[in-house]
């Protein structure tokens, strides 16, 4: 029942948009903020040399994940999948995105109210949930790429 030939799917992997998309999110979402802190420290002659973990220690990665999930939901909405598949994917991406964002919210609330706050746990939670959202986003973009090629045939 698989009606696609291997050439239709693999001939233009080099032009696969999801590879560029991954690179954009990794660089703009993670590396640029980290590099900017280093640049700031250099400009102000500060000994500050934070690691990626320290930059995102309050669960800020959860916010990056939420933005990532929103962009993939937007791509899903624009696709020609059936409404059922779009709804399933969108709801699931939204739930994981919200849960990742909730790590930062919980962290903020704990710090603001003086409730027991553990930066290592906030970092671990946001890192794991970001990894999940990121993997979901990559595979969804791959599926969208495949489906786009099928509809174009």
């Amino acid at each position: 029942m698989v009606a696609l030939g291997i050439h239709e799917l693999t001939a233009d992997w080099a032009s696969a948009k999801w590879l560029l998309w991954i690179g954009l999110y990794l660089s703009l979402g993670l590396l640029v903020p980290w590099a900017m802190t280093r640049a700031w420290a250099h400009q102000h002659h500060s000994p500050l040399q934070p690691r990626l973990k320290q930059v995102f220690q309050n669960g800020e990665l959860g916010l990056v994940s939420l933005m990532l999930a929103i962009s993939v939901i937007w791509d899903l909405q624009k696709s020609q999948y059936t409404s059922y598949t779009i709804a399933l994917g969108s709801v699931f991406l939204a739930i994981t995105g919200i849960m990742a964002g909730a790590v930062w919210i919980e962290s903020y609330c704990r710090r603001s109210t003086g409730t027991r706050f553990r930066p290592d746990r906030a970092w671990r939670d946001s890192r794991n949930l970001t990894l999940l959202v990121f993997s979901l986003a990559i595979v969804t973009e791959i599926l969208l790429d495949r489906f786009g090629k099928v509809t174009a045939l």
Partner: protein, 161 residues
């Protein structure tokens, strides 16, 4: 000594409080593996999924895989934290994937019937892609869903997970 023993046992093995980050990393690896198989075997991997779906073997296989993985994850976290696994959580881990996957399978069948009944060009290839996307989302939902239910259920307890 004997009177304080149950209290001591209770104190040394508190009820397990799950966090969504616990299964998230494993789930991400499952998702990455699915994506990798899709990229490396762009024709044969989807064909295997579609053929198994047509033979009605896909849903039982996915149920078996997700329930086993969920229980392994739950017991692994319980062992790691020296906490006591809850019977309600175990029941949730066993039942939610079954209901979820069976329900989603019914919806997929309705979607496919709708797609095939319409006058859509290249309908068979579209159906294959729909099955592939559905399998992926259902697999991830069946692993993440029970832990989400458990996590939300913990909000009713007076604990600080």
């Amino acid at each position: 000594m004997s009177a304080s023993a149950p209290a001591l046992a209770k104190q040394s093995h508190p009820a397990l409080a799950m966090r969504l980050a616990d299964p998230a990393a494993t789930l991400a690896y499952v998702s990455f593996l699915f994506g990798l198989l899709l990229v490396v075997f762009p024709v044969s991997f989807p064909r295997i999924i579609v053929q198994n779906w047509q033979n009605a073997r896909l849903t039982p296989i996915v149920i078996l895989f997700t329930v086993s993985l969920n229980l392994a994850l739950y017991l692994g976290v319980a062992h790691q934290r020296s906490s006591k696994p809850g019977i309600l959580a175990a029941a949730c881990l066993g039942s939610v994937p079954v209901f979820l996957l069976a329900g989603l399978n019914f919806l997929l069948q309705a979607t496919i019937a709708h797609t095939l009944s319409g006058n859509i060009p290249n309908a068979l290839a579209r159906v294959d892609e729909e099955i592939l996307a559905h399998t992926y989302f259902a697999l991830i939902a069946a692993i993440f869903g029970p832990f989400l239910v458990i996590r939300l259920g913990q909000q009713f307890r007076k604990t600080d997970p």
